[in-house]
Amino acid sequence: MQVILEQIINGLTIGSFYALIALGYTMVYGVLKLINFAHGDFFTFGSYLGYTVLVFAAAFLTIHFGLWGAILVAVIAAAISIALIGVVVERLAYRPVYRAGRLPVVVSALGTSIFLQNAIMMIWGPRFQAYPSELIPNAKLMLGGIQVSLLQVIILVMSFLLMGTLYFIVQKTTFGAAIRATAHDRSTASLMGININKVIFFVFTLGPALGALTGVMVGMYYRQISFTMGWNYGLKAFTASVLGGIGNIPGAMVGGLILGVLEMLGAAYISAAWKDVFVFIILILVLIFRPTGILGEKVAEKV
């Protein structure tokens, strides 16, 4: 029983990473019907920026803000920088080709992904980088007979807080209504006086910022980062958003957590070597019976 609980927590940790990254995919898709392939690289970029802040400014920051303060500064610095990069990418790579149809934008997104990945490699080098171990709190907690690390708890709490906040913004505020309206029908929303550009700006700052934040958490948790890791996480997060219903924000959260737990079930009870096969079989089954994903709504085809 304890082992199962422990495994569920392990699965939820992976799942919450997927969910946070999936949010970036799904918000952009919801508003622009664009699969932002560069999102995985925003995540990696954020992870490297957090690494740099922690490595080079740690001594200074720790004196002034304490250990947790230093980590917070690293997280915020990474999130803000990547939010800016997100806006720049949208302006330079996506906006000029929106009108050319959906395919050119997707190609542009792929190009941006390759560009970012290589930029990261040029800046930090092709070797693995490791977050400094002395900066990472390594406390253990006993919860109801099972051992979890403090970091694991913080990550889970942080993810749920972030997801809750985003859910609140999108579902309960006026601006959230504007986002949902834009996602539903962009031209009508525009006619109703919604500033579409403001909505696009919002999704292209918040999505990458969430990605960057996740990147720093992944770096702190696993300590080892590489310039190609965005591909792996991006693919899984994209899968999670499809599973939950792409374009649907609670769907991305649910999809990510379910994917993490499914991976856990596959690895723990079938075979670690076959876990991805198991996960994708489930994904295909879900999509056969619910083509719009678990929480996706059937949207009437626009004529």
Partner: protein, 384 residues
């Protein structure tokens, strides 16, 4: 005119002496290797190693039973290509005075070459060709001083369970050709012990390379309660695996394959976690401690400024040594006699890379592998 006669006489004298020198007995050992091409670096080091080995033999009086005959190395370049390899083999094989050949580095080059040597009944000893299939064609004249791809698994089975007094063994790989191959070879090598109920393989599964979270897999591993855990993949995942395993309370010794532990591993895992991790590995020249190795490495360093950076050149030098040894014992440079002697009589002959002996197929017996360990300073040293 008188001058001319003196000069001619002098010339004759020189020629006579020259002949006398030439008449001093020599034996020729051929050496086929990638002197040019993609593996030129390896080939050059191997050539140098063969020459140093010959020099050392000659300094000690040559082949004693053949009247102190001096060993001469005749080099042919195969450029690391199968086609050039066949040509080089042809050239060496037809020369009557070439007693035996050291050939060659790459397995793909070795395959056509060894068939040619076989046709000419010429002993050929590979020093870097580790493909298992090479010794499975019933060749009579093919030997190798290096190990086989599956010898690492055998080494693990021979050494690791006994060292850690381990009954429950976990094997984990990464689904790559290399990692999976090594894992399966290891399982096969443990098979006899499993049947004799001496050990139990309690875990055999793969992780996905490129991922970062292995805690689920590791929790399953922990529940299998292994006494020792062998990971046959690469260092990037190995570092994460060990760190996460220690985190969830897996305390058993970690043993990595020869790609799992290096300086990067220590850096990523952190010294606290890396220290005390083991790996199975070919002995690097710097770690060879036999008297023959010390002598060889000193001579090599004196001539070339540095010791060989890869293990393979030392196997080439050992090939020269064992050929010379067989010539001495058989009092012959006849390849047929040398082959028979190598196969049947050579057993535990001290060489640079440890004791040398051959199986009936021509594989090296007791291939040298060492158990390395990360010490308290993060250096990778031989485990005592």
């Amino acid at each position: 005119m008188k001058k001319c006669v003196v000069l001619t006489g002098f010339l004759f004298l020189v020629l006579a002496f020259g002949n006398a020198f030439a008449a001093e007995k020599t034996v020729v050992i051929g050496m086929q290797g990638p002197i040019t091409g993609a593996w030129a670096y390896e080939g050059q080091m191997a050539k140098q190693s063969c020459e140093i080995a010959a020099e050392l033999i000659n300094k000690k009086g040559g082949i004693k039973s053949l009247g102190g005959a001096k060993v001469v190395i005749k080099v042919e370049d195969d450029a690391g290509e199968p086609k050039s390899g066949a040509l080089a083999a042809q050239k060496l094989a037809v020369q009557k005075d070439v007693a035996a050949v050291v050939a060659t580095y790459g397995s793909s080059v070795n395959e056509p070459s060894s068939n040619i040597y076989e046709k000419f009944k010429k002993v050929n000893i590979a020093y870097g060709s580790t493909a298992v299939r090479l010794t499975q064609n019933n060749l009579k004249y093919f030997f190798r001083t290096c190990g086989r791809d599956d010898s690492q698994g055998k080494f693990f089975a021979d050494v690791v369970p006994a060292k850690f007094n381990a009954k429950r063994i976990a094997i984990m790989h990464d689904n790559t050709a290399f990692g999976k191959g090594l894992a399966e070879d290891t399982r096969a090598a443990l098979d006899a012990m499993v049947k004799a109920k001496k050990v139990q393989i309690v875990y055999f599964d793969a992780i996905t390379p490129g991922e970062k979270d292995f805690k689920v897999t590791l929790t399953t591993l922990r529940e299998a309660k292994p006494d020792v855990w062998y990971y046959t993949g690469y260092y990037a995942e190995a570092a994460l695996l060990v760190a996460q395993a220690r985190d969830i309370g897996i305390k058993c010794p970690f043993v990595g394959g020869n790609a799992a532990i290096n300086d990067e591993f220590v850096k990523i895992a952190g010294l606290d976690i890396a220290k005390g991790c083991y790996m199975t590995n070919e002995p690097l020249p710097v770690d060879l401690a036999t008297p023959a190795a010390k002598e060889f490495l000193a001579a090599y360093k004196a001539k070339y400024g540095n010791i060989p950076s890869s293990p393979w050149p030392t196997y080439a030098a050992d090939a020269v040594n064992i050929i010379a040894y067989a010539m001495d014992k058989t009092r012959s440079t006849d390849s047929v006699k040398i082959a028979a002697y190598l196969r049947d009589k050579v057993n535990g002959v001290p060489g640079i890379t440890g004791k040398i002996g051959f199986t009936p197929q021509g594989d090296r017996e007791g291939v040298p592998f060492y158990l390395y360990v990360v010490d308290a300073k993060g250096k990778i040293v031989i485990s005592k």
